[in-house]
Amino acid sequence: MATQKTVSTTGNIVVADAMRQCRPDVMAAYPITPQTTIVEEFAAYVAQGRVHTEYITVESEHSAMSACIGASAAGARVMTATSSQGLALMWEELHIASGMRLPIIMANANRALSAPINIHCDHSDAMGARDAGWVMLFAETAQEAYDNTIMATRIGENPDVLLPVMSCLDGFITTHSIDRIDVLDDDTVAGFVGEYVPQNALLDIDQPVTHGAFSGLGGPFFEFKRAQRDAIERSREVIKSVAAEYSELSGRPFGAIETWGMEDAEVAIVVIGSTAGNTRHVARQLRAQGVKAGVVKVRVFRPFPYAELAATLSGVKAVAVMDRAESFGAEGGPLFLEVRSALYDAETRVPIVGYIYGLGGSDVRLDLIERVYADLSDIAAGTAQPGGLVYLGAR
């Protein structure tokens, strides 16, 4: 294991630090709450000469991602960060980045989308981009946000993958709260991520190439999309092997999902991000009272870990999926739809309930999580049936 230093700081600061340690050639970014301190801190590193990155200040997130695409096509290791409306403004470029197979690394500080205007945490921004062809990682803690940033670099740049990676952390809860984090030293991270060896770099004048051309009328667009599908499928194994290698350095294991108490759980909650911590806390208390409670945290949302979810949930009597994002008009939030789909091929039919919680930073109190487990216990005991979608704690 490599030597590590324990620091006490915020999620955003350690994400900026992880980016500095990965030594990007280019960063193009625009500030937006609650992401701003990432790019602000990074700009300070550039000004102090602590990282030799070309820092491009732009007039919008649309331009930020456009500059990232240009720089990445030119052959640079490129990073950026955004949040909420900023991510929404990048929407068309998100698809261009993945379609051009450019391994851009982006931190996203999860925040609600207007209206009404709201700056607090939910996952609507990232979930709205879930079909954009990016690998998507979600952190529970500042520590995970740090670790995910470093692993993201290796995942995206792997020659079998070559896709952009979005590394998400919960706005304010994780971005701004001060936490205890173990950080690796600069040389260890530099050695782990290595040099980025671009393929088809625009700046390779000995081998001129054309990027972003028209695919032709009736041309092979369809086949290029299938190639993208193949690449994100291949990323499953790469994510695993990068995590295995990284845990040897850091001593911290990482799975596509992380489970607590699932060996014998009868009732389980599936959740993403910072709420996983409180959910485990409640599950631990319930265990003391004899309730066989389990928790499944989803760390990798794209590619979605269907097999892992199906395996861990197959013996459970009732499952709740907590979504911090809406998919208005669908049967539940984005995570609910994925988890239910993962269970479709299970041999026994597992009762599953969708909960929407915490939109726009609305409080996720422990008693609300207790209520979810109580609902599940009733369903498991056969005294209640899964009803429709629940807005957890709404007045």
């Binding site: 051009m100 088809n200 000995d206």
Partner: protein, 107 residues
Amino acid sequence: MAKWDISRIDEWKGDEFPLGACIPESGNSREYVTGGWRSQRPVRDSEKCTQCLICWIMCPDSAIVVVDEKVTDFKLDHCKGCGVCANECPADAITMVPEGCELPEVK
């Protein structure tokens, strides 16, 4: 670098497609035949033409053929029939005629 071989492009499968739709060559748009989009074609009256070369400057598809500083022809593989040349010609020497019709006699 060896020229990019696209002779079998219609039969390509899986890994044969270049990464991210990158074209491993530059400046090869002349191989992309766009003339099929055309619904009308330009016809030049060489008696009216003063060889001012304005059509050659204005054509958005570089489809005016110039040999020894003289307009000689149109490259119909690339001419999209936009009519810019006919509109810009100060001598009214270019007429747009519908494709698929018999061409007027030119001198």
